[in-house]
Symmetry: C2
Subunit: 121 residues, 2 copies
């Protein structure tokens, strides 16, 4: 049902937690299941220096966000904004079709966190 990469990121999620002095924070909700994803960005010279996430969502949401944070860490804001849901799912080796809605939280929360960063500055 789930690839080894999904199981790895589910059981050992990367970048879980909070960044208390984050430069941008994004929180998005999932209309389908009611879950919430919170993304914290530390930004320096237009680059994602650090990123962490918190969620109460399911295994697919955790694995997707874990992978997404790995994909954007160290990248420029522009590069981070270009990361799509499809890239995250591909990097995971795929997700069951009925769990794709969970992975959308990752992309949306990155965009919300960057928007929050721009709003602050």
């Amino acid at each position: 049902l789930y690839t080894e990469t999904v199981m790895d990121h589910f059981t050992h999620p990367r970048n879980v937690g909070e960044i208390p002095d984050a430069d941008g924070v994004g929180e998005v909700g999932n209309a389908k299941c009611g879950d919430i994803m919170k993304m914290y960005l530390k930004i320096k010279d237009d680059r994602i220096e650090d990123v962490k996430f918190e969620t109460f969502g399911c295994g697919s949401a955790i694995a997707s966000s874990s992978m997404a944070t790995e994909l954007i860490k160290g990248k420029t804001i522009e590069e981070a904004l270009a990361v799509t849901n499809k890239q995250v799912v591909d990097a995971l080796g795929g997700l069951p079709a009925y769990k794709l809605h969970c992975s959308v939280l990752a992309e949306e929360s990155i965009k919300a966190a960057v928007k929050n960063y721009y709003d602050r500055n």
Copy 2:
């Protein structure tokens, strides 16, 4: 958003895992989010000697199943079948309304596991 009891059972779920020589196994899916819950029962003299669960579901599903397994452990089959979704949610101190569908998995998987036990015997 979530009670201390929910957070406790989410971060330290009780009875997680598999019982390889289970006497009854129940697997149910959630139509709303596509998540799956698997419940294993070890039964002796009509009593739930041991119970474990596995899921890829969200925090509410994990907390509900953790609490449900605690509620039925050591009980008779009849008592276990009488455990309702409402009792599980009450024992957790409540869940947000839009996450109630997650807790239903716990009750349904117990009933499915007992049914599987009867089918085998």
